[in-house]
């Protein structure tokens, strides 16, 4: 699958990209929601891993902005965040995300597993 990873932490971006690539997927990265938006519109990935708290624009804010675009093609969104308390699962799902995973991940490959499950 084609994956787009949007996170402002470079080590997290690289880890996710390497994990997805090692499992045979195609993964692009964006350093923030603004770059993420452009890449999303151009590449139309099937899976987007989106960080919640980012400067300038948050993950949920981006989802809101691309609400209609997302509705009009098959795409799944996984929200990831280090701030578990302030952003609960129910909220994330109502904003157009399909899954919410807390950082630090139990295991990076479990994220890939969950993404694969969603696409099937």
């Amino acid at each position: 699958m084609k994956v787009l990873i949007i996170d402002d932490e470079s080590s997290v971006r690289r880890a996710l990209q390497r994990a997805f690539t090692s499992r045979g997927h195609q993964a692009s990265v964006a350093i923030d929601a603004i770059e993420g938006e452009s890449l999303w519109l151009v590449e139309k990935p099937e899976m987007v891993i989106l960080d919640v708290l980012m400067p300038k624009m948050t993950g949920p804010q981006l989802l809101e902005k691309l609400k209609d675009f997302i509705k009009n093609y098959p795409v799944k969104v996984i929200l990831i965040s280090a701030y578990s308390g302030e952003f609960d699962t129910k909220q994330s799902l109502s904003k157009g995300a399909n899954l919410f995973i807390e950082k630090p991940f139990e295991n990076i490959f479990s994220v890939v597993d969950k993404a694969e499950e969603l696409i099937i």
Partner: protein, 502 residues
């Protein structure tokens, strides 16, 4: 009107009379002066200072006596000759017969409104002058007797001022705050008992604080310079005082001659303020710690995750694989510390209690105290039985942390700390025993009081034990302490065993 030119004798008399301000002295003086008159046999003076204080001064066997009277003399303000009432009165007072009598009432102005009599003083003169000699005698006496009125007024004022002065001094001494009146060289002119119990007259800084120069922070210097009220704070031993110094000037535009200093002990207030600030600081640090914990999670995720990716790509068992394993374990330790920190610094502990394993809670708390325990011998004995408790995790971890931290702080390097959990029937027990300085018997009953601490000012608020006890009691448990000074202490938490799974 006949103008009588005052004779030299009268002038001398008046001169001397002016110098007297004591009633007894005045009586002695007029007795001395008037008894030299021909035909005068005796002179008595009745004087009233207040409603219940009526005196008579008289001479008996050439000795001056004074006596309290329970009867009052005549209230007639006119001079009288051979008045029967007067004779009876005087005879009664002197316990002897009275012959010819001249009565001279004196209307003395009294400041004391308590004197009801319109005749506060009377001079009685016993004489043997004949009817013809009387007029001459009276004429002469008048110039000597009338001025006594003023002398008595002065005497009364003096007595009044004296008692007023005593009243003032008593009020002054009765004030709880130390007050000292000094001159511009810091010499104590007057002070109350709260300032100094002894009557030692020296510089204020010497008497109050035992110093050889002005106290540090003394406002007097500024008062002298600016001529205005100044306030500042000084320390006397372990107490802190606010010193309010007021200038006194003879004339408004001249230099300050005297200063009144009022000392207010603010030690307790400052102490409390300090503790509140400390508590505030800790709250801020707690908040900061929470933020930092969150911030750390991001890069930590990256480290852990990349290690996992690399681990999957290298040969299992290879050196690189082992190295990556170590990096991963270190990252996990970081994760634990961050979790503990976040739990500990939680600003909004869940109101909900959860069934938790006490051993897990202990482990989390100990994670935060690793550096404190480094130089000590710590033995941890966690029970193998299921020991669950129903508690609010964030709060309970703080309690465990607090007790273990206290133990670490009380114990010297290489000392021993023993942490135990066990189950006794339906009770879960947590014990922390240290080989530290112990708790003195005298303060045992105070250690759970809010703000009570044996630590230095910036090292603790004294709220730890008080809060811990409150928290434990809210979970239906209690904290018990056993201690021997010089040997060590043991703090025990007993909680009801919780049913259900952790």
């Amino acid at each position: 009107m006949e103008i009588v030119k005052p004779s030299k004798k009268i002038i001398n008399y008046l001169d001397k009379l002016t110098g007297l301000s004591d009633v007894e002295q005045i009586y002695k003086f007029i007795y001395q002066e008037l008894s030299s008159f021909k035909k005068i046999r005796n002179i008595s003076l009745c004087f009233s200072t207040s409603v219940n204080n009526n005196l008579i001064y008289y001479k008996e066997k050439s000795r001056v006596c004074a006596k309290q009277l329970d009867r009052l003399w005549s209230s007639d303000t006119n001079m009288r000759l051979d008045n029967l009432e007067d004779s009876k009165f005087l005879a009664n007072c002197l316990k002897r017969p009275v012959g010819q009598l001249l009565s001279f009432p004196l209307v003395v102005n009294q400041l004391n409104e308590k004197v009801s009599s319109s005749v506060p003083a009377v001079i009685y003169i016993e004489h043997i002058a004949s009817k013809t000699e009387q007029d001459e005698l009276i004429k002469e006496l008048i110039s000597y007797i009338q001025p006594v009125q003023f002398a008595l007024e002065r005497a009364f004022l003096q007595a009044f001022m004296h008692s007023a002065s005593i009243e003032w001094q008593n009020t002054f001494d009765g004030l709880k705050d130390p007050i000292c009146i000094i001159d511009k060289n810091y010499n104590s002119l007057r002070s109350n008992k709260s300032f100094s119990k002894s009557a030692e007259k020296s510089q204020c800084y010497k008497v109050f604080a035992g110093l050889n120069g002005p106290c540090r922070g003394c406002p007097v210097g500024e008062v002298l310079e600016t001529g205005k009220y100044q306030m500042s704070v000084i320390k006397k031993g372990s107490d802190t005082f606010e010193v309010h110094s007021y200038p006194i000037k003879i004339n408004n535009d001249e230099a300050v001659t005297t200063i009144v200093s009022h000392y207010i002990n603010i030690t307790k207030k400052q102490d409390l303020l300090g503790k509140m600030l400390q508590s505030e600081k800790l709250a801020v640090i707690g908040h900061l710690a929470g933020n930092i914990a969150h911030e750390l999670n991001n890069p930590l995720t990256g480290i852990k995750s990349l290690t996992e990716v690399l681990s999957a790509e290298v040969e299992g068992g290879s050196q690189i694989h082992q190295d990556l394993n170590e990096v991963h374990k270190a990252a996990l330790r970081c994760q634990n510390i961050i979790k503990s920190l976040m739990l500990f610094s939680s600003e909004n502990p869940s109101a909900n209690k959860k069934v938790l394993s006490i051993n897990e809670q202990v482990k989390i708390s100990l994670t935060l105290l690793k550096s404190a325990m480094r130089s000590l011998n710590v033995k941890v004995n966690l029970t193998e039985e299921t020991a669950n408790v129903l508690v609010v995790p964030e709060l309970f971890i703080q309690v465990l942390f607090n007790l273990v931290q206290n133990a670490c702080q009380a114990t010297p390097e290489s000392g021993n700390i023993e942490i135990t959990t066990l189950v006794e029937g339906n009770t879960v027990v947590f014990k922390v025993k240290d080989s530290g300085c112990g708790i003195a018997k005298e303060i045992m009953s105070e250690i759970f009081n809010p703000f009570f601490t044996t630590k230095q000012k910036n090292q603790g608020t004294g709220l730890g034990l008080s809060m811990s006890q409150g928290v434990v009691e809210s979970f239906g448990g209690k904290i018990i302490v056993n201690s021997t000074e010089g040997v060590g202490s043991e703090f025990i938490i007993r909680l009801p065993k919780a049913l259900g799974e952790a």
